[in-house]
């Protein structure tokens, strides 16, 4: 690391933290305002509000100046930050169903236009699980297996882009796989489960590759530090992914139960009718 970047890094990071916190606060306020505005129509579930708050709090924690600083010095803390930004915060944000809340707040014409926009082919391609997989997991392979990571340590703007990428691609992936918002063009359950399994396997494999071959390189970190970071990625990643599998299976269970009720009702009709 050059003397230049050591001097300027803390200041640049302070600016990033402040900007990120401001953005998160705005996001949270907008969500709460949406809940407040529509409270008379149909109360918004409290647990969704709680989830959004937890998601935002996770982001706030990930952008704390002390963590930013530690992550800059130590690959293990970088991995903690990565897990918070890309895997745990998106769980809160996505399962808070922000799109449903937005649709509820828009006037009918605006809601219809938004739905139509979501159905256009570029948006459909972008929000397809396979696209999300490539952005999310592909981005990770690119970051850790190439000199990109070492580059990001000395280039503040690149580090900021990466943080943003973690949040956006993690959120996109979580939403594409198991988002609770209505999405008429979303592929079926099997496809989403399949993509999730591929993503999990690719994530676990990346963790083991980092461990085995001492990636990311060029950071000056010792092998032990890199291996610990890889193991944290592997095991904590499991936890976030397991939550997604549970979400998908809950949807499956609800559908099966609905089907069984229909069947029951139909057979009751024939018995009594």
């Amino acid at each position: 690391m050059t003397a230049h970047s050591t001097l300027h890094a803390p200041m640049a990071m302070g600016v990033t933290s402040a900007a990120a916190w401001l953005l998160i606060a705005c996001l949270w306020l907008v969500y709460i305002a949406g809940v407040w505005r529509t409270r008379r129509q149909k109360p918004w579930p409290r647990w969704r509000m709680l989830l959004f708050t937890l998601g935002c709090a996770t982001l706030v924690a990930a952008f704390m100046p002390s963590l930013m600083h530690a992550a800059h010095q130590d690959v293990r803390w970088h991995m903690v930050q990565h897990l918070l930004l890309g895997m745990f915060a998106p769980l809160g944000l996505v399962f808070a169903a922000p799109m449903t809340l937005l649709l509820r707040n828009l006037p009918p014409g605006g809601a219809r236009r938004l739905v139509r926009f979501l159905g256009t082919w570029p948006v459909r391609v972008l929000t397809h699980p396979v696209t999300a997989l490539i952005f999310d997991i592909g981005g990770m392979y690119l970051l850790y297996m190439t000199p990109l990571y070492a580059q990001s340590l000395t280039t503040p703007w690149l580090a900021n882009v990466l943080h943003l990428h973690f949040v956006l691609s993690g959120t996109l992936f979580t939403w594409a796989i198991a988002g609770p918002d209505p999405a008429p063009h979303r592929p079926g359950w099997r496809m989403r489960m399949g993509v999730l399994i591929v993503a999990m396997a690719a994530h676990a494999t990346l963790g083991k590759l980092l461990y085995a071959f001492g990636f990311p390189r060029g950071t000056g970190a010792g092998l032990e530090e890199l291996q610990q970071a890889a193991m944290w990625m592997y095991y904590w990643g499991d936890l976030a992914e397991a939550a997604l599998v549970v979400a998908l299976m809950l949807a499956w269970l609800r559908r099966r139960q609905r089907m069984a009720r229909h069947l029951n009702a139909a057979s009751l009709d024939t018995h009594t009718g």
């Binding site: 489960m193 999730l196 399994i197 999990m200 396997a201 690719a202 994530h203 676990a204 494999t205 990346l206 963790g207 083991k208 590759l209 461990y211 085995a212 291996q227 193991m231 592997y234 499991d238 992914e241 397991a242 599998v245 549970v246 299976m249 809950l250 499956w252 269970l253 099966r256 139960q257 069984a260 029951n264 057979s267 009751l268 018995h271 009594t272």
Partner: protein
């Protein structure tokens, strides 16, 4: 009063769910006791090829997914009172034994991802590892035969 349609136990689905739970349970024991607590197993052995690591990643993922899927299948069967009680135990044991045997032969020996323990005479540990898997498989098989005979004579 409408008559509730009679529910027949769904043997096939009960077996599938139980086997999945057994696989996941054994894998969890492996991960928690042998990797974490005893630290006999290594995360990986240095010198494992990228291909072996990828197959390990896939296996690890399937363990986690299948366990959750098995649990939800059981919940669903329970919800419509369609679990076949005599088949849960055998399915669970077959899943456990099957995974243990597979792990001992494919992961430890063929792929060489890691060994049971890093000592001399590791073959003794291998025999115990695979043997334990086979014993559990045999017990599961025996219980399955019993469940099948029971099914032939009575409903329970």
């Amino acid at each position: 009063m409408a008559v509730q349609p009679p529910v027949t136990p769904d043997i096939r689905r009960t077996m599938i769910a139980a086997v999945l739970l057994g696989i996941g349970f054994m894998a969890a024991i492996d991960e928690i006791i042998f990797h974490q607590i005893l630290a006999w197993h290594h995360f990986i052995d240095t010198g494992s090829s990228a291909l072996a690591l990828a197959s390990d990643g896939i296996l690890h993922t399937m363990e986690l997914v299948l366990f959750i899927v098995g649990a939800f299948m059981m919940i669903e069967l329970h919800g419509r009172a369609a679990q076949a009680p005599g088949y849960r135990g055998p399915g669970f044991l077959l899943g456990m034994g099957g995974f243990q045997t597979f792990d001992g032969i494919v992961d430890h020996k063929i792929l060489g991802l890691h060994q049971v323990r890093y000592v001399e005479h590791v073959w003794l540990y291998d025999i115990a590892w695979i043997g334990a898997g086979l014993v559990v498989l045999a017990i599961g098989w025996k219980l399955l035969q019993r469940a099948r005979r029971g099914q032939a004579t009575s409903q329970h």
